[in-house]
Amino acid sequence: MQPVLNIKQLDVKFKQSTGVVHAVRQVTLSLGLGECLGVVGESGSGKTQAFMAVMGILEKNALVQGSIQFEGREILGASPTTLNRIRGAKLTMVFQDPMSSLTPHLTIGTQMAEVLVVHQKESWGNAERAALQMLDQVRVPEAARRLKCYPHELSGGMRQRVMIGMSLLCKPSVLIADEPTTALDVTVQAQIIKLLQEMRAELGLSLVLISHDLAIVSGLADTIAVMYAGRIVEQSSGGNIFQHAKHPYTVALLKCTSDLASPRLDRLPTLQGFPPDLTQELPGCDFAARCSRASEICRRVRPELSAATFEYRSLDAQSAHPVACHHPYES
């Protein structure tokens, strides 16, 4: 079956005065129709940059290589005009910080309606009516009043609902949610995740959920890709990652997940050391310096992802479990 979004050997580099930052390295991912893909990794692992590249909204100094196919068509390197027909309509993105991701001087109604005006040539009146319906659908109370509000008049959770509603107006096939709950408090987090789940079921969305929080991703995602230093280091179904993590980085990440039920610790577990400098190319494994299982070979030879072209549907979900490690944990 043809995936909706197919990313192959994606590389993203940023030219800076201090050198070239190689933020995304040989990332290959695919997303099937109606699937949910979780992308996990710490700050700077390239997870956001990879999907900003998909949307074509990286800074000007970015150099993107590889292939990005959306609904069977190559969109990497497409002209802004071509991209503008897709993004915001069929391919949409919700950002981390709802506080600053909405334009402060435009009303919610205007910002939502303009999507339909631009993509479907609707009149402003019709577009606002559709926006009103959408606000109801994403469970914004008193939707008619909120439509006339400016972003600063809404709470963070409300704004994220508006962002999600705005991204669903043209019935997209893929929604990319970049840390959609990170800037929100815990109770609101749960509501937003629930909303995404409901919308996915109602609209048959394919969802990319980017997060640093394994617990949030695991509840929603069919597949999880773990990224470290711009590369995918492990990929499998949510359950597999949780119970049979193979990569030492994933295992370390899981240990850092705080658990309110466990006995109180003096210190929260953390990952020792820092991620590598992305302006340098290491010959071996990027994680070797922080890894407890690292040996001589890890510093010399880079471990390849064991099944380089991982396609969720084509393999048995439970058994497909590629990992890029010389000494993986055995399940």
């Binding site: 005009t81 993004r87 949409t92 993105m93 950002f95 991701s101 909405l102 402060p104 001087h105 999507v115």
Partner: protein, 319 residues
């Protein structure tokens, strides 16, 4: 619902305007008082000339204009007359009242000033936006070089230079004169007057636009698939203009003082020269009249600036 909201806004607005305008009266009062005593503290008087007048004539003149009275009495008499809308007679331009002088020349200076302001704003904003969209390319650097020159070159150099090129060599435009405000006569003075604030506005717009283009909401607008011109006009321009609005009052001040130079060089019958000439001549009433006019313009400009802030950013509340 929306009509009720509009009426609410209108009431709020008029209440705000009334409050701000009544607050301007004590400000003006203090400015007038300070200017009155300062100009009278300057040595000499309006009738001191190189060729001395007979002392009897000076004494007669002083009596006629009330200058022989104690300063406090002169002050009270001036303020009372002012309260009745009388700015007094000019000491130097015989047979003219200050009001007549200002009413004659103000249209010229106002035309020049308003046009210069409009040119400075529209071209400044366009240049700044253009440069920001081509950040770190040759067009950007050329625009900013032009802006630096515009800030650095004073109008008393620029205007004769422009006159030389466009007037004398090319014969395109007249070098000087007013001709009851024909457009051809206005172009060079307006441009010379507009160039410094235009350059400052271009630089301000550029740096703010660059900042706004990096904000998450502009990224959202691009991710929504809006064409670039819509992202700029609808989402980025207003926030980028906020600091430009803050520059409007200094820009008006720069145009008011600049009109003195430009009007003298181009031989325009405006009021630009009255403030400085009046001060040199000890033409007390004319200086005070000009001070009142300029202060009022600047105070009103401050009000306009605050209203513009509220229009640009809904988070700003008028109260």
């Amino acid at each position: 619902m929306s009509i009720a909201r509009a009426i609410d806004t209108l009431i709020l607005m008029s209440r705000y305007l009334f409050k701000r305008l009544s607050a301007a009266i004590p400000t003006l009062f203090i400015i007038i008082t300070a200017a009155f005593f300062l100009i009278h503290a300057a040595p000499g008087g309006p009738f001191d000339q190189e060729q001395r007048l007979p002392s009897q004539i000076v004494a007669n003149l002083d009596t006629a204009f009330g200058l022989n009275q104690p300063l406090s009495v002169q002050y009270v008499r001036y303020m009372v007359a002012l309260a009745h809308g009388d700015f007094g007679p000019s000491f130097k331009y015989k047979d003219y009242s200050v009001t007549e002088l200002i009413v004659q020349g103000l249209p010229v200076t106002a035309t020049l000033g308003v046009l210069a302001m409009l040119v400075a704003l529209s071209f400044g904003v366009m240049m700044g936006t253009f440069a920001a969209l081509r950040h770190n390319t040759a067009p950007d650097q050329a625009t900013m070089l032009l802006a630096v020159i515009g800030i650095a070159v004073p109008s008393f150099v620029l205007l004769p230079f422009l006159g030389l090129i466009f007037g004398i060599y090319l014969h395109w435009l007249p070098v000087a004169g007013w001709e009851s405000g024909s457009i051809r006569h206005l172009i060079l003075p307006v441009f010379a007057l507009a160039l410094p604030p235009m350059s400052a506005i271009a630089r301000l717009t550029r740096s703010n636009m660059l900042e706004v283009l990096r904000t998450p909401y502009v990224r959202t607008a691009f991710a929504k698939g809006l064409p670039r011109y819509l992202v700029i006009i609808r989402h980025a321009l207003k926030p980028a203009l906020v600091p430009v609005v803050g520059f409007l009052a200094p820009a008006v001040a720069s145009i008011l003082t600049g009109s003195l130079v430009v009007e003298s060089i181009a031989g325009l019958p405006g009021i630009g020269r009255y403030l400085v000439q009046g001060a040199l001549n000890r033409d007390y009433s004319l200086v005070l009249g000009m001070v009142i006019l300029y202060s009022t313009v600047l105070i009103l400009m401050g009000l306009v600036v605050d209203l513009l802030y509220a229009w640009l950013d809904p988070r700003v509340r008028l109260n």
